[in-house]
Amino acid sequence: MRTPFDPRAYQIAALAGLLAYGMAGLAFEVSIARVGLLLATALATQYVGGRLARLPRFDPRSALISGLSLCLLLRTNSEALAAGTAVVTIASKFALRWRGKHVFNPTNFGLVAMILATHAVWVSPGQWGSAAFLGFLVACLGGMVVNRAARSDVTLAFLASYGALLFLRAGWLGDPMSIPLHQLESGALLIFAFFMISDPKTTPDSRAGRVLFAILVAAGGVFVQFRLYRPNGLLWSLVALSPAVPLIDRLFPGCRYHWVGRARIPARPRKGVAHAPTLDLLPQLPLGRTRG
């Protein structure tokens, strides 16, 4: 039987393409050596974590996605801190779990944890500018098609609610609409919407839950950005709201997402509902030992 297409393959290609464009066209402050370091560290941590968690085989895809995301987002003068961030990022997948799901998007957690802990790493949300916006959008939408809307509801709900909040704010302040439009024309925003908040492993299981989560993250991002005046409001918002996902799952139970073949198993046994993992899934692993 033909193996279903894994959307992570597209994600890896898209992120690698964006990184190549960023380095060649936008002079990102990330060297080839830094890219190598981040990817190698992420993969090594995945390998070690997988061994410790006794995963049956080494799967580099999630670690590659996290590593490439770090290449796009993480900035620091220190190679040690760069490697440290990659370790924290991947290790969080294995260490911070709740009912078989990791709590935080790994890249999101790694970045925020290191920003808080070291004050020597940063994220440059302005690095994309707005000139590349359209090309960017195409790449991201392409990902959505490939995903076959697997979890694009969270992305769409987030973009819609974030955009609505920006326009509402502009209307309230009497600002020209060019301001919220400019705020939406952001490469950093698209990266967040298509590659971070959309992470099916850290979003609620049900569609209603995901939409609620997306709206909350958008509102939190606006609050951090325009009330607290902190940059990277969306990263802070997502990391702050991720612990609420188990609660949302309790309120709106749904099917747990699994990568290969997008097979689903119920998150929790529900009365009167039979549930069994599909064949291409690993045997049900004990708590804390599912694939990342």
Binding site: E29, R75, N77, G174, I179, H182
Partner: protein
């Protein structure tokens, strides 16, 4: 939570300095300072944690009675927090951080075999005409009024920018209709500005470089070899470089011209600011005796104060390309960066040896490359540049004519 508290606000009016220093990174020749640009505003932002001290200077031409500068501040500020300061402070910052031209002299090829290679509200004037009763209805409140130096200062608060615009219009201040949104402190300029404006931001921070979060911050080209004749027209050259970069970025970027630890410089377009000067700008965190150099720094230059990182940003903006006010963030990046252009004077000695011919050959290539670099940087016509560079033979008439002719023969 209040994120930004402006504890000192300094208004300056109009505003010169040039030194020559020799240093490791070439012999300093000239700089391209802010006076090259018309309609330029300069602002120094001293940022420490959540506290910001801002010093501003505007290039305003016209009747002073009509000059007003509007600066929305995020929190109420008191009279003691506003002072008029000396324009020389910003001039010194400008001189210290300007893009610079340096020169090298090729060694005698007979002594060394290598050639080329890159080494590495002002007078819110008679303002406040009689207060109108509908200020409140416009949502505008005059919180306080002061006279500081020669300026009358009103502290206004407004819930909405539209109300503030109406208030300004009714009180005799024109606000251009294309800019109904009111400006944040970083988006300086008079409310009546015509055409694109230049803004220079000097950010003095503890941690590292400052960048914009809602626009790209782009490093200007640096370290490039350009033809020697540029020495006489460096100002014109730099204006062309900047304009060309603005064009390439579709006028949607903020440009980094300088990022350096204030403890030193190399080469120095001007000495670093002293502790006293930094203190006047609002730097409260430097320790040690006045003028003391941090011992761990390179001993190249004197007079600076450690622990202060200077970022110089240059932006050309108008309402359509910069719809949103600039938003900054301080990064932990302490990588030094300077706008620096290099002149290389050919060896003009008369000695001949085997290496001379090789040197001449490389020199022809080098000069062509310099011409192309200059054309790329400025958009100037390549043939005009070649013409201005003159004939290499004329430059080195004293050299061995026989080897020179053999060099030219392939052409």
């Amino acid at each position: 939570m209040r994120r930004l508290s402006i504890c000192c606000l300094s208004f300056l009016l109009a505003g010169p300095a040039a030194e020559r220093a020799q240093a490791f990174c070439g012999f300093y020749v000239a700089k391209a300072d802010t006076k090259l640009f018309n309609q330029a505003s300069s602002v120094a932002l001293v940022r420490d944690g959540d506290q910001t001290v801002m010093t501003m200077a505007n290039d305003y031409q016209g009747d002073l009675k009509e000059f007003a500068i509007v600066i929305p501040v995020p929190t109420f500020i008191k009279r003691e927090q506003i002072e008029v300061t000396d324009r020389a402070l910003l001039d010194h910052l400008d001189a210290y951080s300007s893009p610079r031209l340096v020169e090298y002299f090729d060694p005698d090829p007979c002594q060394r075999m290598e050639v080329g290679g890159v080494l590495g509200g002002a007078p819110m004037a008679r303002s406040a005409a009689p207060h109108r009763a509908d200020e409140k209805s416009l949502g505008v409140t005059v919180e306080a009024r002061y006279t500081v130096g020669e300026y009358d200062i009103l502290i206004l608060s407004a819930q909405e920018s539209g109300g503030l615009e109406t208030w300004l219009k009714e009180n005799g201040y024109k606000v251009p209709p294309e800019s109904p949104k009111f400006m944040l402190p970083v988006r300086l300029g008079t409310v009546n500005a015509k055409g694109p404006q230049e803004l220079f931001v000097y950010a003095l921070t503890r941690k590292g470089r400052v960048e914009t979060t809602n626009y790209r911050t782009v490093r200007l080209p640096t370290g490039m070899d350009i033809p020697v004749f540029v020495k006489n027209e460096f100002g014109r050259f730099y204006k062309a470089v900047f304009s060309d970069q603005v064009r390439r970025e579709d006028m949607r970027a903020v440009f980094l011209e300088y990022a350096w630890d204030m403890g030193w410089c190399d080469p120095c377009a001007a000495q670093p600011l002293s502790r006293e000067e930094l203190k006047s700008l609002g730097v409260a965190w430097t320790a040690g005796a006045p003028g003391q150099v941090t011992p761990s720094r390179r001993p190249a230059m004197v007079g600076g104060a450690g622990d202060v990182f200077l970022t110089r940003l240059h932006v050309r903006y108008d309402a359509s390309h910069f719809p949103e006010d600039l938003v900054f963030q301080e990064t932990a990046d302490r990588t030094n960066f300077q706008g620096r252009f290099v002149l290389r004077h050919p060896w003009q000695g008369g000695e001949t040896c085997d290496a001379t011919r090789e040197y001449r050959r490389a020199l022809v290539d080098r000069r062509e490359k310099e011409a192309q670099t200059l054309a790329w940087l400025t958009g100037w016509d390549i043939n005009e540049i070649r013409g201005k560079m003159g004939n290499l033979a004329k430059i080195s008439e004293t050299t061995d004519r026989r080897s020179w002719r053999s060099l030219l023969s392939p052409f």
